[in-house]
């Protein structure tokens, strides 16, 4: 099994893990957003979506285990890369200027990542690990979003997600080696579209919930 360590333990191997799990999360976000858009149709539709989803039973549990596994790999590898990259330059520059390659999205990846983790913990605590027997998902959402502070926190968190997706999406394709003259320009555009859709799509949900639910 030495070759497994010699593959996923290398710098490129670790990046592959980040890319695969990261793209997995983009897939999850797509599904999550599509489902949540039923909020626009009112509480009945939203509750019905949630019921149908949970009717899938073991499939949902499997997806949860998969997401947990992906999160563990993505977070632990990300933190390891951050530590190794910090260590790779023990003496810092007195004055360093960026040449135009780096963007605010790429430069903040480790930090937006940690912020998303914080959001995720709070999000699970307020929506997932709550009493689901005596209240519907619309009631839960309506309760949570009744706090203006939480709405602001949620919306800002979605901006952070958009930042992370903006660099993460195209970066994953570059890591797979899919930098191609024909497709790379489209991947860059798609990266921006994904970020904006995630940011706006999720970002407006609390406001919509307050109006609709």
């Amino acid at each position: 099994m030495d070759w497994v360590k010699g593959t996923f333990g290398t710098s490129i191997g670790k990046k592959q893990l980040m890319a695969v799990t990261g793209l997995g999360f983009i897939g999850f976000l797509t599904g999550h957003l599509l489902g949540n858009l039923t909020i626009y149709l009112g509480p009945e539709s939203f509750n019905s979506y949630a019921e149908h989803l949970h009717a899938l039973g073991p499939l949902v549990n499997m997806a949860e285990v998969g997401l947990l596994l992906f999160a563990t790999v993505h977070i632990s590898t990300g933190l390891l890369l951050f530590y190794q990259n910090y260590k790779a330059r023990p003496v810092k520059y007195v004055g360093k200027k960026w040449a135009g390659g780096r963007t605010i999205f790429s430069a903040t990846m480790p930090y937006t990542g940690v912020l998303i983790l914080v959001f995720l913990i709070i999000h699970l605590k307020t929506f997932h690990f709550v009493d689901h027997d005596n209240q519907t998902i619309s009631q839960i959402a309506s309760n949570v979003f009744s706090s203006v502070g939480y709405v602001v926190f949620y919306t800002l968190s979605m901006v952070v997600v958009a930042f992370h997706v903006k660099h993460g999406f195209w970066s994953a394709f570059q890591t797979f080696g899919a930098n191609h003259v024909k497709y790379m320009p489209a991947i860059f555009v798609l990266s921006a579209i994904c970020a904006v859709v995630a940011g706006i799509g999720f970002g407006f949900l609390p406001v919509v919930s307050r109006l609709v639910l």
Binding site: I12, G13, K14, V94, G177
Partner: protein, 254 residues
């Protein structure tokens, strides 16, 4: 038109790897704008020597941008602010009278400071020794054009082969990663039929050597291609990434 300008230099001075370094301030008087950056440093060093002080140590050789020896961070930019030039190709006409210029050595765990602006880049030699070559049997030279090479592939290989190993990519990378250098050296061979033969083994051993030397991990920040004096681009890194995937998952090499 040639002008004479006066400058203030803040230069990193460090006696050796074991010593602590610091920025020291010097004044560079009556610098012709026709001079190269290295000629300006030569002039400052002459003054320092005449006044009995230790001249500033810096690497240089060909002074025409092809050897890869020179290089320093000038005002926070590798080889200075001009695009696609080495430090010896940076001319003083890009500076104005009264400017303060900060000069620091390349910074990376894998590039230890030898003295002042001179860093030890032998880590690059180790990466090349790990697989950056083609094994050829000795004997009579083969006929030219025996192996067909597609002209566009040859051009791409030559683009990658332009890498002079100066280290600007590592110096400018936020993570001090050597991926642009290593990928250029992998690509220049992998693109050609003679190099394809050993491509799988090469990419694995060069990557593992690069990791062992303490370079950081690539996070696609693209600072390397923006600062490379030979304008080598990150499609080489993508090529190395997919070459690695192919070698690690599908070849028999462990």
């Amino acid at each position: 038109m040639t002008k004479k300008i006066n400058l203030t230099l803040k230069v990193w001075r460090q006696k050796g790897a074991a010593h602590k370094g610091a920025l020291e301030t010097y004044s560079a008087q009556q610098i012709s704008t026709d001079m190269s950056f290295l000629e300006m440093l030569d002039l400052v060093n002459e003054d320092l020597t005449l006044s009995g002080k230790e001249p500033i140590a810096f690497d240089h050789d060909c002074r025409e941008g092809i050897c890869g020896m020179c290089g320093a961070m000038v005002n926070g930019r590798a080889h200075g602010p001009e695009k696609g030039t080495t430090l010896c190709q940076l001319h003083m006409r890009h500076f104005s009278d009264g400017d303060t210029i900060m000069i620091e050595p390349w910074r990376a765990m894998a590039f230890k400071v030898v003295k002042d602006l001179v860093v030890d880049r032998s880590a690059f030699d180790k990466i090349i020794a790990a697989g950056g070559y083609v094994s050829v049997n000795t004997g009579g030279a083969p006929d030219a054009n025996n192996i067909p090479v597609y002209a566009e592939d040859a051009e791409l290989a030559m683009d990658a082969a332009q890498c002079i190993g100066c280290g600007a990519c590592v110096a400018s990378c936020p993570n001090a990663s050597a991926m642009l250098f290593t990928s250029a050296k992998v690509s220049q061979l992998a693109l050609l039929p003679q190099g394809k033969v050993e491509a799988d083994k090469r990419v694995l051993s060069m990557l593992r050597c690069m990791d062992e030397l303490g370079f950081g991990n690539c996070s696609n920040e693209r600072e390397c291609e923006a600062e490379c004096p030979k304008e080598i681009n990150i499609t080489n890194i993508a090529r190395m990434n997919r070459g690695f995937l192919k070698a690690a998952l599908f070849s028999r090499h462990k």
